[in-house]
């Protein structure tokens, strides 16, 4: 049976160098619970190191939830951001390995870009990810879409209404022939404004997310998914408007 799930498919943790230092996976999960989210994708920049911990946090304690979707926000070679959502942790790990091989060589400079903390899923121990996660990868958008799609995942270009790191800002328009699940508009804009300003996005399904880089931004953007169960396959169906599934945003 179809049910309505409140989903935020774009949330960072303290692994993203630009995110706030109090965004541990546990704190993120607790805040998501407080604001009433049912589904949350953890989407750090070019890395998925905190997904496992977030999943563990979401099923521990007296109150459980939300459902965690493993994801990453990948910066393509065109220097645009795309949300990649994977069906499970194993495939997210597989995808992360591909992205890691395509990172800009070099080490993170925390003083310039920010710290990148990973929390161990079992022990909770903290360590730093020393890769240059703030820089673009060598993967083109077409590469990202084809590889993620092959893994059963979904690709949703991020914050298309923004000038920085967006598909419209970098490419001018959405290229034909890409198997995109949908497009994300930022929480700065609603659906109506987005369609007025960018009529070319009308043929895509739109999601709205928080893109939270601090705990207090969690809950500021969300999409209502009408789906049967909280899986990436169902989210893809909802974005296609297939079999009665659908997405609602403000």
């Amino acid at each position: 049976m179809l049910g309505a799930w409140a989903a935020d498919l774009h949330v960072h943790t303290f692994l993203s160098p630009c995110a706030s230092r109090d965004m541990s996976p546990g704190a993120v999960v607790r805040r998501c619970r407080e604001v009433g989210l049912d589904i949350v994708a953890i989407t750090d920049h070019n890395a998925a190191g905190n997904v496992a911990r977030a999943m563990a946090e979401a099923v521990s304690g007296p109150t459980t939830g939300p459902v965690i979707i493993p994801g990453m926000e990948v910066c393509t070679s065109e220097e645009l951001h795309v949300l990649t959502l994977l069906p499970d942790l194993a495939r997210a790990t597989q995808w992360e390995a591909v992205v890691r091989r395509a990172l800009t060589p070099g080490e993170n400079v925390p003083k310039i870009f920010g710290e990148q903390w990973v929390q161990d899923a079992c022990t909770g121990a903290l360590c730093s990810d020393t890769a240059l996660l703030a820089a673009p990868t060598r993967l083109s958008l077409a590469d990202v879409v084809s590889q993620v799609t092959d893994l059963g995942g979904a690709c949703i270009p991020s914050h298309v209404d923004r000038a920085a790191f967006s598909i419209l800002g970098q490419l001018g328009f959405v290229p034909e022939g890409l198997d995109l699940a949908g497009l994300e508009i930022s929480r700065a804009i609603n659906r109506e404004e987005a369609l007025l300003r960018m009529p070319q996005i009308a043929r895509y399904s739109l999601i709205s997310s928080s893109d939270a880089h601090s705990l207090d931004e969690i809950g500021l953007g969300c999409s209502l998914l009408w789906i049967e169960e909280p899986t990436v396959a169902e989210i893809i169906l909802a974005l296609r408007g297939a079999r009665g599934r659908r997405v609602e945003i403000e």
Partner: protein, 114 residues
Amino acid sequence: MTVQDIADALGMTCVAGSPEMDREVTSGYASDLLSDVMGHAQDGAIWVTSQVHQNVVAVALLLNLSAVVIAGGLELMEDAADKADARGVPVLSTRLPAFEVVGRLYQLGVRGEV
């Protein structure tokens, strides 16, 4: 030649990092792809771009560039300006399009590394 000399000669406004305007400009680079800049711009270069986000400032810091020029009348984003001020990266703004900025820099004697 300093960043200040260049700003004066081309009538460009400093929008952030003004205390560092006496830096020496030793070469020039123009690109809107951060990865390209990270791979090729030289220490001390003045970088002409139409990107306005805060990663521009991070890249300038990483490579120890002398200054960033935001061309085409675009406005540096507020968080980027704050970061440039805090970290001392001079950012100049001009209504001139990027092609024109690079041409005039070249006329002033700024060269790229080839």
